[in-house]
Amino acid sequence: MTPDPCYADESAAIRRTIPLFDGHRAARGYALNAMCFSFNDAANRAAFRADEDAYCARFALTEQQRKAVADRDVLAMLEAGGNVYYLAKLAGILGLGVQDLGALQTGMSLDAFKAMLTAWAEKIPNGKHA
């Protein structure tokens, strides 16, 4: 698809490099995100736990998405079009909090990731906590 010239320049570059969840990713990730959205319902969370394969099949996950979920590979889920606002609901089922997710995605230990979060406080200009 040719990028729209209206946002072809800097915005498009930022969308690619961060990357940001735009139409391309939203289209690619639709099935995976739809499954994760269904986890707002406790019965659906239980159904996933009871038979993960069958539940993923019901939402017609792509092969790439199914493998990413089976591998519990968060970066691969994102690459397959997953959006973190929806993936967080799957993470909940897997017993992973946002700091576990951060550690998994950065390759850091949980303690190292938490220390990194705390260390940002040193960058507060002039100690302006208020």
Binding site: N40, N83, G92, Q99, G102
Partner: protein
């Protein structure tokens, strides 16, 4: 005549709700964040608003990717929270103000903001946690709610400039309302944080300070960036600052007095802030 009495801004990450449930407010980890709220609660108890116009973003409770409105205005008589999927208790329901909602909707569309209207809308932790922080332990919420949801999930997001303009249109609409309500404006979310990808854990205290320093006196300063540039500066979830920018716009041109301001790193994966601006 209806009166806009001030603006209340706060971070809203789900972890805050967990801390409230566990009673962790006074622990060393959480206290520096919760310390921002006593002055806000005291001011609210004095100022007694009747209705809150709350700018926030949905996190996959009410809206899915099948239909994703850029701006959505609630017009319901009640708003419920619901199971968000990660084990927090379901929050209390809210009473709406349909007459004022429809007035807002009419005025906004006449003002050429082509918003989505919602007679049914679940509200998530982005609305509930700011209320829990403002009125802890309340049996029912003491004020009515008009929720305005801004898409911060799927790009293209509205620009900071457009969000400020939407807020200003909300301000004009509130000015033309014939009721006698005392109106509180709220902006929730942020500040800098990123949950996803190799840059997970990113924060930007310098950009956060820029926002906190300029929001009241010079909100235009925050509109020089595209939404993408904000994501680069503030992190992928830091774009929730759009809710603050819109809420600032809804305060209009009245002189604003800063009643309280608090900034702390980290809570959960987030640089967290609260801010209260009184409209004179």
């Amino acid at each position: 005549m209806a009166q806009i009495i001030g603006g209340y801004f706060t971070s809203h990450v789900p972890g805050i709700g967990g801390a409230i449930v566990r009673g962790d407010q006074d622990t060393p980890y959480w206290k520096p964040f919760f310390d921002g709220f006593p002055p806000i609660r005291e001011w609210l108890a004095e100022a007694k608003p009747d209705v809150a116009v709350v700018f926030s973003n949905d996190h996959g409770l009410n809206f899915f990717l099948d239909k994703m409105p850029t701006f959505a205005v609630g017009a319901a008589a009640t708003y419920d929270n619901a199971d968000e999927g990660w084990g927090l208790p379901v929050y209390k329901s809210f009473t709406g103000h349909p007459a004022l909602s429809w007035h807002l909707i009419d005025a906004l569309v006449r003002d050429e903001f082509d918003i989505t209207t919602c007679q049914q809308m679940l509200v998530d932790h982005a609305v509930s946690i700011p209320f829990e922080l403002a009125w802890p332990g309340a049996e029912s919420w003491p004020i009515k709610l008009i929720p305005i949801a801004i898409n911060t999930v799927q790009y293209p997001l509205p620009s900071p400039k457009r969000c400020l303009a939407l807020g200003r249109a909300v301000n004009r609409a509130l000015q033309s309302w014939g009721g006698t309500e005392r109106i509180l404006v709220c902006g929730t979310g942020g500040l800098s944080h990123q949950l996803d990808g190799p840059r997970a854990g990113f924060m930007n205290p310098e950009y956060d300070m820029f926002c906190l320093d300029n929001l009241a006196a010079d909100p235009e300063a925050l509109t020089g960036h595209s939404a993408e540039q904000v994501a680069e500066l503030a992190g992928t979830q830091g774009v929730e600052i759009l809710n603050w920018i819109a809420a600032r716009g809804a305060l209009g041109d009245l002189p604003l007095t800063q009643i309280s301001r608090n900034y702390h790193i980290p809570i959960s994966n987030t640089a967290a802030a609260s801010l209260l601006l009184e409209a004179a």
